[in-house]
Amino acid sequence: MAISESTREQLQQLAARYPRPRSGLMPMLHLVQSLEGEVTPEGITACADAAGVSAAEATAVASFYTMYKRRQVGQHHIGVCVNTMCGLLGGDAVYEALSERLGVGHDAPTDDGQFWLERIECQAACTHAPVMTVDWEYMDDVTPAAAVEIVDRLERGETVLSTRGPAIRDFRATEQTLAYPEDGLAAEGTPVDDKMLVGLRIAKEGGMAAPGVPAPSAPTGQEG
């Protein structure tokens, strides 16, 4: 796919977000991936031009990071955390069930190009183990059966809600968010869930609180 003039303008805008244009390389790569579903040689060249580096340098950067793919990811990226906490608490079984359901192994697309399956590392959600992601949105506390059902529903085009985020869109839409984080979805879903509130609720029920707050007007600390 050819890179359009408007894409080149967007890449320039991403470069201008930073004191030096090269710093914009990562969001630029996310942007071209959102448009093309993978990072193509043409995409890399366009990013390199906007960042003011050679295509070889931009390629070296793109190949360093696991989120940039060099093959079509398809409509949905499916991640299963198999790091120690998730894997041992059941993520291994979740991965196996999905691999069987989709007929693919690690870091590969399905034949029909609809899904990409990946064994992923710790997602900073170990309290919610085992964790799965769809287009990098959280699907917390999954079971093998629940994971397969999520894929079934995505395949049927049904709405699937992230457990701590908005309704699932698709892989390209998430990549767009990574380039332009103000996607208007910050108020969607329930990003703060029971597990994030468990300690607070126990504290409130038990009448526990942090010690008193001094009056706000007192300019404390300067005497230090």
């Binding site: 710093s23 990071y65 989120m67 103000e182 994030m196 607070l200 126990i202 300019p219």
Partner: protein, 434 residues
């Protein structure tokens, strides 16, 4: 010891992530106050508070800020490390989902103190929800006049950029993060020079963890004496603990530093019914594991060090007796091998060999001799790698061997899965699927 919600105090207000919700609970009051003070006085305040970095190393925050040369004519930068990718660490992401304005307010105050006009929040790319919540907070702060030029008529200018990573644990290492932010492969730099002197674009740069920065508004608003009511002399303050594993109520618990694992475990409803603690790690896979004998040690930087481990990220992972320690350690090493950036030989080659040997054990192969030589191999990596990832990779095995030698020896003839039925560790074992 009671729980003390501070950063988490209003997380049950669904509007907290908005600027009006945050303000309703006193948000941005600290900023208004900070902007009337001398920046140097703010640095002294944070120094006096004794706040230590919550990213893992526990370096004193105010001291780090004071290393930034002032009146040097160079631009200064603040970079927030929101890469949270350490296995077991799961507290910065919840903070950003629930209370993003505390981070933004902390960023503005910190930038004012160190005289930075540009700040960056580097968030791991695999969590778009954190990225959109923080970006939304930055936009709201800008619209409210807390960001931009001549903020609140003080002449202070600040621009904040939310930057999405793209999947690389090593980018959490502060100098690798800077290279990544400059548009290079994320590989660590030689230190010195330290970032406070030559960081982003070779200019003075402060790099702090998300939770560290979220402490700043509370310290500025409530003062040093208030802050030092929590914790110990050497580990003052409170901590957002994230308890994961085979407990009845995994989740977020905010408590003073110095609380014990036994107390946290109690709040977390104890181990799942009928099971006991086998091993636990105070803060991430990079710190040495402990056992049920260590549940009464206060969770402070100094007490954890005295017990031969580290507080790390303060996100305890607890495993019960159904878990094969061989399998757990092997999985962590597979992670380090995958994430080694390849820059230096001890780590690149070492993670390859340790992982290979551990995988043999996991599958019931290897010799007792290898159980010993693997300790030597770890010893050769420890302290000889270019950055702390190499040290981290050399940590889990010797730590596990200290308490579970028999299990590793047994693994040379009986696979981990034959010693421990993996299904027994599943949290949904016997449960009906949703």
């Amino acid at each position: 010891m009671p729980l003390t919600p501070v950063i988490t105090e209003h997380w049950d207000d669904p509007e907290l992530f908005t600027i009006s919700g945050y303000r309703r609970h006193g948000g941005y009051r600290a900023l208004e106050s900070a902007l009337t003070r001398d920046p140097d006085a703010l640095i002294s305040l944070v120094k006096d508070s004794g706040l230590r970095g919550r990213g893992g190393a526990g370096f004193p925050t105010g001291l780090k800020w004071s290393f930034v040369p002032q009146n040097d004519g160079k631009p200064h930068y603040l970079v927030v490390n929101a890469d949270e990718s350490e296995p077991g660490a799961c507290k910065d992401i919840p903070i950003m989902l629930a209370n993003p304005h505390a981070l933004v307010e902390g960023v503005i105050i910190t930038s004012y103190a160190i005289r930075a006009k540009h700040a960056f929040i580097y968030i791991r790319g695999e969590v778009p929800e954190a990225i959109r919540r923080v970006a939304n907070a930055v936009r709201e702060a800008r619209e409210a006049g807390y960001l931009g030029t001549d903020i609140r008529g003080t002449g202070f200018d600040l621009d904040v950029v939310v930057h999405a990573g793209a999947g690389a644990y090593i980018c959490g290492e502060e100098t690798a993060l800077l290279d990544s932010l400059e548009g290079f492969r994320g590989q660590p730099r030689l230190k010195p020079p330290f970032p406070a002197v030559a960081g982003l674009y070779a200019s003075p740069t402060v790099i702090n963890n998300v939770e560290t920065i979220c402490n700043i508004p509370y310290i500025v608003d409530r003062g040093v004496d208030w802050f030092r009511q929590f914790g110990t002399e050497k580990s003052p303050g409170f901590k957002v603990f994230a308890v994961s594993g085979h407990v009845n109520r995994p989740g977020i618990y905010e408590a003073p530093l110095g609380i014990t694992m036994r107390e946290l475990l109690d709040y977390a409803g104890g181990m799942r019914d009928g099971h006991q603690v086998k091993f636990w790690l105070p803060g991430g896979s990079s710190v040495p594991m402990l056992t049920a004998d260590h549940l009464d040690i206060p969770m402070t930087y100094e007490d954890m060090a005295a017990a031969g481990t580290m507080l790390g990220t303060g996100t305890p992972m607890i495993f019960d007796e159904t878990v094969s320690v061989v399998k757990a350690v092997t999985r962590w090493l597979e992670f380090y091998k995958h994430e080694s950036c390849g820059k230096c030989t001890p780590c690149r080659e070492g993670t390859y060999w340790i992982t290979g040997t551990l995988e043999k054990f996991e599958h019931g192969h290897g010799t007792e001799q290898e159980v010993e030589t693997l300790v030597e191999l770890c010893g050769q990596i420890m302290g000889r790698s270019f950055c702390a990832l190499g040290d981290a990779a050399a940590t889990p095995y010797p730590a596990a061997l200290k308490y579970f030698r028999d299990e590793f020896v047994a693994a040379t003839t009986t696979s981990a899965d034959d010693q421990f039925d993996p299904v027994a560790s599943y949290v949904f074992a016997g449960a009906v699927a949703r």
